[in-house]
Amino acid sequence: MRASPRSRRFIVAGGLATSLLLATACEREQRRFADAPPSSAPSAFTTASALQPGPTYIASAVADPYESNAYAASTGQQLFASMNCSGCHSNGGGGMGPALMDDNWIYGSDPDQVFASIAEGRPNGMPAWKYRLNNQQIWELVTYVRSLSGLIPKGARPSRSDHMVVASPPSQTPNSKPKNSGVPPASKAP
């Protein structure tokens, strides 16, 4: 059949072209089940309270390893539910605890800041989770929490879930420019 070698060549060519287009997908689709044996040791950069040595909080350069990983975000969503985060943050809408889907970040919106908030806990009720969850889980939570206000790449944000509609899913939340990144003056602390 005359066409055969050519069509094969064509498929290969097309394949290469498309793979260039989709190369970004790799990271998003990775599914890590258990990363290198997790340690429950608190991360170096986390802060135990709002009281800082020195005037301002120095953000460390630690990045969210799952920043653009859809699967981690949805696992975070699962944890958010099963760890009953909604008890205080009601689906990110806020209640006893602050809202998570708005642009107001009392303790900062950077991944490491959110990690600190979860791992170390914060004054006025936020428990420290570092004794309960391992780093991987906390990072997954970080990814999900940041997705709530559109701080992670669109393609990685969770879409709607099979529950009653309470708010538009992260995949449809507009990116919001986070306000007050860092530790608030004691007066403004909740």
Binding site: F10, L22, Q30, M164, Q172
Partner: protein
Amino acid sequence: MSAEHSGEHDALIPAPQPPLPARATLPDDLLASEHEHLDALWSDGRGFWAWVTTVNHKSIAKRYIVTAFLMFIAGGLEAGAMRLQLSHPDAGVMGPDRYNQIFTTHGTTMMFLFAVPMMTAMGLYFVPLLVGARNVAFPRLNAFGYWCYLVGVVFLYVSLALNMAPDAGWFSYVPLSGPQYSPGHRIDVWAQLVTFTEIAGLIGAINIIATTFKLRAPGMSLNRIPIFVWSELVVSFMIVFALPAVALGSTFMLGMDRTVSTQFFNPAEGGDALLWQHIFWFFGHPEVYIIFLPGMGMITEIVEVFSRRRVFGYTAIVLANITTGFFAFGLWVHHMFATPIPELGQSLFTAASMVIAIPTAVQIFCWIATLWTGRPRFTTALLFILGFFFTFINGGITGVMLASVAFDKQVHDTFFVVAHLHYVLLGGAVTPLFAAFYFWFPKVTGRMLSERLGKWNFWLFIIGVNVTFFPMHLLGLDGMPRRVYTYLRETGWGPLNALVSAGAVIIVTSVIVFLVNVAISYRRGALAGDNPWGSYGLEWATASPPANYNFLYPVVVRSRHPLWETAVELPVLTGLSTERREVLVTTTVDARPDHRHDDPTASIWPLALALCMAVLWIGSIFSPYVVLWALLISTPVLIMWSRQAMRVTTTERVQRPNGEMVEMAQA
């Protein structure tokens, strides 16, 4: 039988211009010059540009067939990987994540990228030849269909390479495939890929229907259509009614649930998980017959030729095809017997699922009767048909057993079903397909496939299929569910699985033998000549491989077996233009010459449009707004596409609905 030979149509054919002495034949030098002329006129040229612009149904169908066969091999390799992982308990060849992608890709490939396209492609190549046409009805649409299909192929396999392949099964049941339980874009890939290939399939179907209805050789009335064409016709109608279901379900429901948060399948907001199963199987069950009926058509052709007699019960077989086509839409619920569906409804579907066995049985009986009173020639093609009887009927019987609600609830979603469906599809579709390859390869390439390698190919295949799939029945009964990436040693499924995996190796060997056979015969096979099998069909009334124009002149048909029942001389009609690509359009029922149609020339726009569609479908996964951009860029393409047909060429003979004939050059 009498109507078959009547010359009732002659009166309807205009007299020769100028009148010829009775029984005169066209002089060879005229034929030679006409051949030169038409071959050049119908040629789309050579080289890459010609390759991407051609609208010749043979070139397109050929690459369709090749691509589909590559997909058969790809799907086979995936099957091999799965068998490696399952060959022994607790194997560590691959993890669940990879395994799920692979079995999903296997199913998706075999159903959407191999079986249906392959059967459509066989139709697109042979239907025009069998009905004596020069091309399909819509050549550029035909090219567009292929390019859509190719984009789908590339899309799926690039995704697989990117660890982004769908992983919720070829049936993508919600909610597992929904936004919550399948994050990322894997299922979006599946949903859009399905739509792609469905579009290709629908286009192929429309082409085959229009070709069969309007481009038949003069005198080939409906009761003289070759049975393979009948089955392709029935299948095309089934495609038109079955494929929209899954295309809508995947793109407009599943896809939109995932991308823009529609609630079709969210039980908390009034959605319904069973709705997807209904939609999917309303397509999914006819799909099986869409794959299998063309195989039946091929068998009839081959049985007829190699038993050297006219098939017994032409009408019965045609009616059986049509009945199957209708019944196929009334069975889908037997895929859902384990779901909470009213019992009475289930019984009705049981009855339907069993009754549909009857038309198939009728066809099988007719073939046996034909062989019995014929003088069979044991070519590889016929051997594969005998293999069909052996394997397919096995699958048919288990199919009837599965139609029983009570029994189905035991083996549903187990390896018993895997065994059944592979017996049906490999036995009922792939075996006839191999037979058809051996039968028609000479026509396509002008060379014969080696019969000796063919025998090897056949025996390895039949043995392989049975060694691989028979033990699966037992595994299913012993409780091995489908779609498991591993199993515990305690289950005791190990030995049989090892046997199954061994069988898979035999099948692979058989396919390799076939490929070797093709590779060798394509270059060094014995020359075939016009009609190596002494067959009766119009496809054998032209050169092998056929010239660009297929037929020098429209052949006049007066019976069901033109080449068996005409004398040496072949009656033809002259008078089609030699200045442009003209095809003869005939009336739908009794194929009277109706008018001359100007066929389009080579065009790049089908490819361009397919690429625009690719941007649309693939882009919409990442952002709904891409749709608008894609529409924007496809507008100029569509304009260019239609401009091509809007050229003033020569004076046309326009016939108004009231019959008045007007000569006009431009509107």
